[in-house]
C-alpha cells in the first residue's frame, strides 16, 4: 500500500523519540478504531456479497420450494426487459431535471443573497427550512396541494383561467412534477453549499474587476463562476447521488405510476422484491444499480481531480 521509505525506524521506536501523543506509531489508536471500522466493513460488505449470491438464484418468497440456482438468468432477464430500460430512462430524466434546476436556482439564490445587505441573514436561514422535512411528509404535502378538486395549486391554475389538471395521473407530467417537488426540497441544499463557497472566495480578483470597471454580469461569468467550478461539481455530485435514490417521494405520490411513468430504479427494486417477492431478480437489479452508480461517481471524481489539479 504505502511506498513511504523505511529509512527512519529509529525515530519510531520507543517513547523517548516521541514527545506528546501526536506522532505516535503505536498500535493503540488502531485498536480503539477497530470495532467501529469492523462494524462499517461488515454492514457495507455483507449485504452486497449476499445479494450477489441471491442474484444468481431463482428465489421467489411466494414460491420458496422452487428456489434454485439460476446462473446469470436474472441479469439476462433484466437487461432484455423493456421495464429496466424504462426505469433507467425515468431515473436519468428525474436526476437531470431535478439536479439541473436545483443547480441553476441554488446558484442564482446564492449569488443574490451573498450580498451583505442588512437583514439578509433572515432570508439565508429561513430558506433552509425545507431541508429539515421528512421526504415522506413532503410527498404527501405536495400531493395534497396538487389535488384536482381541492388542491391549492389547482385553485391557482383555475383562477389563472386554465382547467384543473390531475397532474399525478398524467403519464407525461407526473415525473417532471415529482422532480419539481425534489427541487423545492433540495434547492436550499445547493444554495447552502454554494453560498458557503462564495463567501470563502478571495476578495482581490473582485477588487481588481471593480477597478477595471467590469459589470456585475462580467464579474460573475468570468471571475466568480470559474473559481466556483470545484464546489459546483461537488454539490452536483452530492445531489446526483441522492436524487438517483429517489424512493420516498415516489412511494407517497405515485407508486411508480401512472403505468410506469415514475418507475425509477429504486422503486423498481422495491416493487420486484417486496411487492412481487422476486428476490433473485431484485438482487440482480440491485447489483446493476450499484455498477451504474459506481461508474457515474468515478467519472465525477475524475472530473473533480482534473479540475482541482488545474486550480491548485
Amino acid at each position: 500500500m504505502s511506498t513511504e521509505p523505511q529509512a527512519l525506524p529509529i525515530n519510531r521506536v520507543g517513547p523517548v523519540a516521541q514527545p506528546g501523543p501526536v506522532r505516535g506509531r503505536r498500535i493503540g489508536p488502531y485498536l480503539v478504531m477497530l470495532p467501529a471500522l469492523l462494524f462499517l466493513l461488515a454492514i457495507s460488505i455483507a449485504p452486497l456479497l449476499y445479494s450477489l449470491v441471491v442474484s444468481l438464484l431463482r428465489y421467489n418468497l411466494m414460491n420458496p420450494d422452487r428456489m434454485g440456482f439460476a446462473g446469470l438468468r436474472n441479469f439476462q432477464l433484466i437487461l432484455s426487459s423493456p421495464d429496466f430500460w424504462n426505469s433507467l430512462l425515468v431515473t436519468v430524466e428525474f436526476v437531470v431535471i431535478a439536479v439541473g434546476l436545483e443547480l441553476v436556482l441554488g446558484l442564482g439564490l446564492a449569488l443574490v443573497l451573498s450580498r451583505d445587505v442588512p437583514g439578509v441573514g433572515v432570508f439565508r436561514s429561513f430558506i433552509l427550512v425545507p431541508l429539515a422535512l421528512a421526504p415522506v411528509v413532503v410527498g404527501l404535502l405536495w400531493r395534497f396541494m396538487l389535488n384536482t378538486e381541492s388542491g391549492i395549486l389547482n385553485w391557482v391554475i383555475s383562477v389563472l383561467g386554465f382547467s384543473r389538471t390531475d397532474f399525478l395521473s398524467n403519464t407525461t407530467l407526473a415525473l417532471p412534477i415529482i422532480a419539481l417537488v425534489d427541487v423545492w426540497q433540495w434547492t436550499p441544499f445547493m444554495f447552502l453549499i454554494l453560498l458557503a463557497a462564495i463567501q470563502a472566495l478571495p476578495h482581490e480578483p473582485f477588487e481588481a474587476a471593480a477597478i477595471d470597471g467590469a459589470s456585475t454580469r462580467e464579474t460573475i461569468l468570468h471571475i466568480a463562476l470559474p473559481m466556483l467550478r470545484y464546489p459546483i461539481l461537488v454539490a452536483v455530485l452530492l445531489r446526483t447521488i441522492d436524487a438517483f435514490r429517489v424512493y420516498d417521494l415516489i412511494f407517497m405520490m405515485t407508486r411508480g405510476g401512472p403505468v410506469n411513468a415514475t418507475d425509477t430504479l429504486s422503486w423498481s427494486v422495491y416493487n420486484n422484491g417486496f411487492r412481487n417477492f422476486n428476490m433473485g431478480y431484485a438482487a440482480a437489479l440491485s447489483w446493476i444499480i450499484l455498477i451504474i452508480v459506481t461508474a457515474v461517481v468515478t467519472v465525477f471524481i475524475r472530473l473533480l481531480a482534473g479540475r482541482a489539479g488545474e486550480t491548485a
Binding site: 506528546g20 501523543p21 501526536v22 506522532r23 505516535g24 489508536p29 488502531y30 478504531m33 467501529a36 462494524f39 462499517l40 452486497l48 449476499y50 441471491v54 443573497l113 450580498r115 451583505d116 445587505v117 433572515v122 430558506i127 433552509l128 427550512v129 431541508l131 429539515a132 422535512l133 415522506v136 411528509v137 404527501l140 405536495w142 395534497f144 396541494m145 378538486e149 391549492i152 423545492w184 447552502l192 453549499i193 458557503a196 462564495i198 472566495l201 476578495h203 473582485f206 456585475t216 461537488v234 452530492l238 435514490r245 424512493y247 420516498d248 412511494f251 407517497m252 429504486s266 427494486v269 422495491y270 422484491g273 417486496f274 428476490m279 431484485a282 440491485s286 444499480i289 450499484l290 452508480v293
Partner: protein
C-alpha cells in the same frame, strides 16, 4: 461580494425582492400544511381555499390518540435515540485517533468511510431483509438501530474529527505532563470540550433517523413501525383523510424544525463542511 463596498440601491432592492419571493415559495407549503391540519374536512375540501375559520385540534386528537400514531412516534424516538448514542460512541473511537494522531493510512481510512455514503441504500435492502428475517429481527428494534447507526456513522466521524481537531494540543500535552494517562486525559480534558460537537452531531443523527423511510418501510411492520411508515397508512390511492394527514405530517415535521432553529449553525457546518472540503 460582487459589489464591494456599499451595494447600490438596485442591488439592495433586487436582493430583498428575490429573498421575499424565495421565502414565500419555500415556506408557503409548510404554512399550508399546518393551516390544513387545524381545519375540518369540510373546510379543507373546497374548490376555493378557506382562509378564515374556527381552528380545531380534532385532527391531532384523532391522529395521536385514536389512530395510534403516538405509538409510532414512540418507536421512532426509541430507535433514533439508541442508534444516535451508539453512533456517537463509535464515531468518537474513530474520529479522535484520526484527528489527533498522524496515523499511517489515516487518510485512506477517512476517504473509505466517506465513500460508504455513495452506496445507495436500495442496493442493500433485499439482502438485508433476507438476513434480518433469518435472524428473526424483522419488525424488531435492533434491525433499524443497526442500520441507522451504520447510516449515520460516516457523517458523525467526519463532523467529530473536525471538532477534535479544533482542540488545542497544548491542553492535552499539559494533562500528560501532569501525569494523566492518554486515556484519562481524554476523558477528563478532551471529551468535555467537544460536548457541543457531540450535541450537534447527535441532533443531526437523530433527525436523519427520524426522517428515514426506506429501511423502516422494509424492516418494520406492525410492532416496530416508525412515524414515517405510519404515514403510509394514509397514502392509499383513495385516501381522503387530508386534514388528518396534514396533522400527522405536522407532528413529524415540527420537532425537527424546532430543533433545527437551535442548532442551525452546527447543521450548516456539518452539511456544508462535508461538501466543500470533502
Amino acid at each position: 461580494m460582487f459589489a464591494l463596498g456599499r451595494p447600490s440601491r438596485t442591488a439592495v432592492v433586487t436582493t430583498y425582492a428575490v429573498g421575499v419571493v424565495a421565502l414565500l415559495l419555500f415556506l408557503f407549503p409548510i404554512f399550508w400544511m399546518v393551516l390544513t391540519s387545524v381545519k375540518t374536512t369540510a373546510q379543507a375540501f373546497t374548490s376555493d381555499p378557506v382562509l378564515v375559520f374556527q381552528p380545531t385540534l380534532d385532527n391531532y386528537r384523532e391522529v395521536l390518540f385514536e389512530r395510534g400514531f403516538s405509538k409510532y412516534i414512540g418507536n421512532s424516538l426509541v430507535i433514533g435515540v439508541i442508534a444516535t448514542l451508539l453512533t456517537l460512541v463509535l464515531a468518537v473511537t474513530v474520529a479522535y485517533p484520526l484527528a489527533r494522531y498522524d496515523l499511517r493510512g489515516g487518510r485512506q481510512i477517512t476517504s473509505w468511510i466517506l465513500s460508504l455514503r455513495i452506496i445507495p441504500p436500495i442496493v442493500s435492502v433485499v439482502p438485508l431483509y433476507i438476513i434480518f428475517s433469518n435472524l428473526n429481527l424483522v419488525d424488531q428494534y435492533p434491525a433499524l438501530i443497526i442500520m441507522y447507526t451504520f447510516m449515520n456513522l460516516p457523517l458523525a466521524v467526519w463532523m467529530l474529527r473536525g471538532f477534535f481537531a479544533d482542540i488545542p494540543r497544548e491542553l492535552e500535552e499539559a494533562a500528560l505532563v501532569d501525569g494523566s494517562s492518554p486515556v484519562g486525559g481524554f476523558f477528563r480534558i478532551v471529551l468535555p470540550l467537544v460536548v457541543p460537537g457531540l450535541v450537534a452531531t447527535g441532533m443531526l443523527s437523530l433527525i436523519f433517523c427520524w426522517n428515514e423511510f426506506l429501511f423502516a418501510n422494509v424492516l418494520t411492520a406492525a410492532r416496530a413501525k416508525t412515524a414515517p411508515v405510519g404515514l403510509t397508512e394514509y397514502a392509499t390511492p383513495t385516501g381522503v383523510l387530508w386534514t388528518q394527514i396534514m396533522a400527522a405530517g405536522t407532528v413529524v415535521v415540527l420537532p425537527v424544525m424546532v430543533v433545527g432553529v437551535f442548532i442551525q449553525g452546527f447543521l450548516v457546518r456539518g452539511l456544508a463542511a462535508g461538501a466543500v472540503k470533502g
